[in-house]
Structures are given as C-alpha cells and as structure tokens.
C-alpha cells in the first residue's frame, strides 16, 4: 500500500505534483499501514497558512533502507485520531488540530500543543490560553498534585509539569509546553530564503544552532542541486560533532549534579565551556553561529588552527574521561542512575523516540548512519547503543558518543580536503518539496520545505527531536519517586524552545 507514496532520499527534492494526492481515508489507511510495519512519522505539515491550510503532507521515515515516503491529502474537516493505535503520532495530531482548526476526534488527550495565540479563535476556543490547560485529575487518599513551572528553580527554559502523585510516587506526569512560542514557522512563510532565515534557524534552539542551521542549509542545497565542497562538508561535520560533544559533556555534569556527585559536576561544568570555546575558535561564537551557511561553511580552518584545536580537544577529552569514569565507578551514583526512569525497547518504538534516549533502549537509529549526508557519506561513526533504557543507559550512550565524536573530529582536523568552502546557491525551484534530516545531539532533526511559484518558501515545517521525546519523559517517570524527576529530566534534556518554535 505504501508503494503508492513517492520515495525520496534525505535532501532529495521532489516536485509537489509528483506527490500523490489521495483521498483522506486512503491517506490515513496508508499511514496506518506504514506505522505498523516499522516506519515512523517524521513530519505532518499543513501546507499553507495555518487556518487557511488546504493540504496536509505526510513524511514517513523508514530507517533501515534510509528512505522517506511522501503522500498528501486535502485538509479534512474532521481527523479521526490514530493515536490509540500509534502513540507516536499523538503530538503531530495535536499540532495539526491547533494550527489548522480541524476537528480531532477520538484523541485520548486532545489539548493544544503550543497554545498558539490565535486572533481568529472560535467562541468555544477563547478560554484556551496557556495556563488554562485542563490537566488530568485524580483523587483519593494521599493523592496530590505537584505543579512545577513555567518558571523553574534553575536557569532553564520554561515549561509546566503537573504530577499526579500518590505519596511520593508519580502516577502520571502531564507536560504542558508552548511558553517559548515565538512564531518562527509563521515568520518563515512566503518569503525568499535570506540571511534572516539562517539567523532564525540559529536561534530556533540556541544550543542546537549547528544542527538546525545545517538541516536548513541542506534543504536549500538539495532543492537547488548545490554541491557543497568536501572541505566545507568536513568543517560542518566538525562543528556538528563539537556541538554534540559539548552538550553531552554538559549533560553528564548536570546528571552528576542532580544526584549530588560534586566532582564530576564540577569538572564537566568547566569542560563543557572548554569545548564551546573550541567552537568559538572556529567562528568567534561559542554556539557556532555563523559557521554553517547555504552553500558550505563561512569559517575556514588552516593547518595551524586545526593543530591548536586538536591539541586542546585531546587535553579536554583526557579530562572528560577522568570525570566520566568517576561516575561509572561510584556505587552511589550508579545506585541513583540504574533502573531509574526506565523505558522498554517496545515503549521507545511505540513512542517513536529518537536520539540517545532511543539508543539507550536498544534502538539502532541514527540519522548519520540511516540518512547520511555531507561528511557522513564518506566517514561512518559507529552507532552508540545501550540496552537498559534507564538513566544509566542514557548517560552511558552520551559517554560512548563523546568518545566516538572526539575521534571523528580529530580525524577530520588532521585530513581536511583541499578546496574552497562556499558555493553559490541558485534560486529555489518552483513548487517543490524537500525533507532534510540531521542527527542533532538530542536526536533526529527534520525540516520540510515547500516552495511556491516565485522561488519563495511557502511552508517551513521544523520537527525538533524534542517533539518526539517529551512523551518519553512523561512515560519514563511513571512509578518513580518524585525526587527522581530532576535526574530523569536531565537524562533526556529536551528542548523547550525547539518544541515550541
């Protein structure tokens, strides 16, 4: 049945007219068929302007052969929910209902995903504003609710967590986001790709600047057939892996902090900054802003800079190794990490988790392996997988990724291919669609770009890995003590602004 869909590779453009337009029933049937046979929903964008959207495109991801399946349908008045059978589609359905106003029926939890401030709300929707969220309730002896957020105790983005607790045990966690919503997708509609597009990508999720900007640039290059030079590919990959290493090192430190293990918390706190400073050597900005541009890279690395960066990376990696090994050798740390916040492989598959959270449950999915682009077409990193699905698993997968990414970065720095680093990007082709996947440090980033008749972008859909993984956190803390919530949250470390856009 899925043969009806058009098949593309990562960053391969397709003319809109070549995407089969199906009746809504057939559309849902094919999606159901695909999701039952091991595929995942990568994106479900509405084409056009929110409430005036006319069509919906489904982007299905098949990891093993590395292929993407596309189909579209006219926007229906009512969408019978498929979440009951396929939990992974839950956030996409909620998003569609909120953005386009279609009626979502039969969804177990049909509440707004982001609380978009709409001017044209229906009468019965006007009491839906952020903070009015109708949380699930439970009553009984020793039952109580704990509300956290949107303003959190630490220096962190806002979000609301509502715990239904029995004594100290969490029965259910409901996460309500949308506080960071800045209207990025709306701002990208009906515009030519310009510098502002790239800057919005860099600040979409500020700690994943390279990841999102790379996905955007890959999409534009794919659409225009622009071949990025090998040297630029390597520089981009170095930046992406540096971003991964810096954030993973920070996460190990943060997890150590949350279980009260000061040595690793202290060392990794410094070392994260040390890796950010290496990115700053590349482009002046600790988050890599300005490195990745359409057509290649804007910052070059000469032999001297490469040698200096490599020397510092080796030094920092040696320190990280020492700090991480303290964790794995501390019974007190392992007692908190192991068997806490566990998810089974089955649950990870059902929820469609991505990134280290999925790999910690034994799922061997990694965009760099399944949908390689750029330098990853030429050099393969081993996929870091663990099997326990608990906080220890997610921490250990990060450690494995740090090791492998550092080796990759050092190898690239040593052998940068000759050549220029920037190519020109031509005008976008009219009425085409492209899907661009990048393995950000949290997981698979998916950008879907649709162009109009004038070489402009009509719809830009961003799916941050956090959209897939927030439900994973909610499920992982069930049955845990509420005192373990911080460590579970840190072990996922998801993006609020990447989710909210």
């Amino acid at each position: 049945m899925i043969d009806v869909a058009v098949v593309v590779r990562n960053t391969e453009p397709v003319a809109l007219q070549d995407i089969p337009r199906l009746s809504f029933d057939v559309f849902q049937e094919i999606i159901a068929d695909a999701l039952s046979s091991g595929m995942y929903m990568a994106a479900l964008p509405a084409v056009g302007n929110g409430r005036q959207a006319r069509e919906i495109v489904a982007v299905l991801r098949h990891d093993q052969p590395g292929r993407l399946y596309l189909l579209r349908t006219g926007k229906p008045e009512e969408w019978p929910s498929m979440t009951g059978r396929f939990p992974q589609i839950a956030p996409f359905e909620r998003e569609l209902a909120e953005e386009t106003g279609l009626q979502l029926s039969g969804h177990p939890r049909s509440v707004p995903l982001r609380y978009l401030p709409h001017d044209d709300l229906e009468e019965d929707e006007k009491n839906r504003y952020i903070g009015s969220h109708d949380f699930l309730k439970a009553s009984g002896e020793e039952m109580h609710e704990v509300a956290v957020g949107p303003v959190h105790a630490g220096i962190i983005e806002p979000g609301h967590f509502r715990f239904l607790c029995h004594g100290e045990t969490i029965f259910h966690l409901e996460i309500s986001l949308g506080y960071q919503h800045r209207g990025i997708e709306t701002a990208l509609r009906n515009r030519l790709p310009d510098r502002r597009l790239i800057l919005l990508m860099e600040t979409l999720a500020g700690d994943t600047s390279i990841g999102h900007t790379l996905a955007c640039c890959q999409a534009l290059e794919g659409l225009t057939g622009c071949l990025v030079s090998r040297r630029a590919m390597d520089i981009r990959a170095i930046a992406l892996e540096l971003e991964r290493v810096a954030n993973h090192v920070g996460d190990l430190g943060a997890m150590a902090m949350d279980v009260g293990y000061a040595p690793t918390a202290s060392f990794c706190g410094r070392l994260r900054g040390a890796f950010l400073n290496i990115t700053a050597m590349l482009c002046g900005n600790r988050y890599g802003r300005g490195v990745v541009v359409p057509g290649g890279a804007a910052c070059d690395v000469d032999q001297e800079l490469a040698a200096t960066m490599a020397g510092r990376i080796r030094q920092h990696f040696s320190d990280v190794t020492e700090a991480a090994n303290l964790l794995w050798n501390s019974p007190s740390v392992l007692a908190r990490f192991e068997e806490t916040g566990s998810l089974s492989r089955n649950q990870a598959e059902e929820l469609g988790l991505v990134g280290p959270a999925a790999r910690a449950c034994g799922l061997e999915i990694d965009t760099r392996m399944d949908f390689p682009t750029g330098a990853y077409l030429y050099y393969r990193l081993p996929t870091s997988v663990w099997f326990t699905g608990d906080v220890q698993g997610r921490a250990f997968v990060r450690w494995l990724e740090i090791k492998r990414s550092v080796a990759f970065i050092l190898a690239r720095l040593q052998s940068l291919p000759q050549g220029t680093i920037q190519q020109e990007v031509r005008q976008l082709p009219a009425e085409h669609l492209v899907v661009s996947l990048v393995e950000g440090w949290r997981g698979a980033i998916c950008h879907v770009v649709l162009t109009g008749t004038a070489g402009d972008i009509t719809t830009y859909k961003v799916v941050d890995p956090s959209v897939h993984n927030w439900p994973g956190l909610a499920l992982a803390v069930r049955g845990e003590g509420i005192m373990d919530f911080p460590i579970c949250n840190k072990s996922f470390n998801l993006s609020y602004c990447g989710h909210d856009l």
């Binding site: 401030p117 983005e157 919005l200």
Partner: protein, 270 residues
C-alpha cells in the same frame, strides 16, 4: 574516594583571576564591542551595511552619523564583512553592558563608561546579590551562558552573587528571551513576588530589544516595554565575561576607567 581526590588533583584549578588579574583573552574571531569610523563611511547614499543587518541595528541618524545599536545587534559580523570601506569593525572588547539604553548606541570609538546603580541598592547588594532567572522565550543560549557563570571557571559565588530558586529569596531578576506573549503573565508574577528594592537585568539581544523577534506578534520589542530595566547586557548570546563584567560593574566591583580592570574593595558612596 581516592580516585576522586586524584582527579581533583589532576583537573587543577581553573578559576580565572579576573578581576584582580586581566580577563582571559577572547577568541581571535570573537565579535565584541563595535567601532565605527565615521570618516570612512561613504555617506547617506550607501546603504550596504543597513541592508545586510538582520535586526535593523544600523541607522543613519538625522545628524548624518551612522550609529549601531548594540541592543539590537546580534554581533554576527555581517556589516563588517560587507562594508567596502571598513567603516565598521568589531573589537575583542567584551565590555558591552550599560545601565542606560542610550549608552548602547555606538557612533565612534567609544570605550565603555562606568555604570552607576543608585546608592541604596549598591550599598545593599554590593556584597550579596541574589538573582532569580526567568527565561521569557529565550533560545537557551543566553540561559546556558548565564548558567556557566556558576561553574568553576567564572565562579560567580566568590563575588557574593548567586542564582536562587524562588523570587521570594531574590534581590533581582535576570531575564532572557524576547518576552513571548505566553510567558508575559509568569514573568510579571515573578517580578511582583520579588521584594523591594529590586534590580532588573535584561540579558541578550532578545531581552534588550526583542532581537530577531522584535516584530513577531508572539513576542515583544524588549523587556523594558514591560519592566524598568537597570542593566542591559547585549549579545547573541553575550559571552559569559560580558555578563560577569556587567554584573560586577553594576555593583561597583570593577571599574572601566582604569585599565586593566581592577577590583575595587571599597568605594565611596557619595
């Protein structure tokens, strides 16, 4: 146990000596305090820099002078790259913070001036400042670089500055992000919960001016549209040294007039 002690020995001491010692050197490609050479600027007809600026930070003033608003600037370096006359350059000076929004406008070579907090608050907070951090739509870069101030490299605690968990325990609020409409209520409630006298710090281009989102209906044109701001810290994100120097300046613990910056251990409060 022995391993963690050995590790402590190996890892060494990394706390910077600033402000008693000179600040660490910024990376070679770092875009810091901008400098405008008006003589090199080609004049009203040339709009190259203004056209390539993503946040309209560059303006031609009625006097004819070119000005760069650091509050809107993302420090992307685009104008420096595109100007055919090299009229705009970004130095490696990380000292960007100001108390007055107008002091963020650059029209020449302008070394930063000292920031003055009023006597009462300076006296109260000079030795102990507790801040509550609120992310009002921030992208997490400003938050991360604020967080890093608590790590051993910058060690904010040695100045008596600390981030606390509740506004009730705080002396001031440090806001990041362009104040999204969805965060407005939470931000106002947090501000109201802080006892007087209090300090408001806007960190990052988004908080200072709305940044890239200043014309988005879902965000705002900066924190000072909502709350009275005492300290503006520009940058996207501001380097941790910029935030640190801004905080220490505000409290009168470093001076910008003498160079290199020296820690002031006693000040006259007249």
């Amino acid at each position: 146990m022995i391993h963690s002690l050995l590790a402590r020995y190996h890892q060494g001491n990394h706390t910077i000596g600033y402000p008693e010692e000179p600040a660490p050197e910024m990376p070679a490609r770092y875009c810091g305090r901008p400098i405008i050479d008006q003589k090199q600027c080609q004049g009203i007809e040339c709009t190259i820099c203004r056209d390539c600026c993503p946040t309209v930070a560059l303006q031609r003033e009625p006097s004819g002078l070119l000005s760069l608003d650091m509050g809107r600037c993302l420090f992307c370096g685009s104008c420096e790259q595109h100007c055919p006359q090299d009229a705009i350059t970004f130095s490696r000076d990380f000292r960007l913070a100001a108390a007055d929004r107008n002091d963020l406008m650059i029209r020449a070579v302008q070394p930063p001036i000292n920031i003055h907090l009023d006597q009462l608050r300076r006296q109260l907070f000079r030795r102990s400042l507790k801040l509550r951090q609120v992310s009002a739509g921030g992208c997490n870069a400003c938050e991360a670089d604020t967080n890093v101030l608590g790590t051993i490299v910058y060690d904010l605690g040695r100045f008596g500055i600390q981030f606390v968990a509740s506004p009730r325990h705080a002396d001031g609020i440090l806001v990041t992000g362009p104040v999204t409409s969805n965060m407005k209520e939470a931000l106002l409630e947090t501000y109201t919960a802080i006892p007087e006298p209090k300090i408001v710090i806007a960190t990052g281009a988004c908080a200072v001016s709305g940044g890239l989102f200043c014309d988005h209906p879902e965000a705002s044109a900066g924190l000072d549209q909502l709350l009275p701001v005492d300290l503006y810290v520009p940058g996207c994100p501001p380097h941790p040294m910029t935030i640190l120097e801004g905080l220490l300046q505000m409290l009168g613990l470093v001076s910008r007039v003498t160079a290199p910056a020296q820690r002031i251990t006693s000040i006259s409060l007249s």
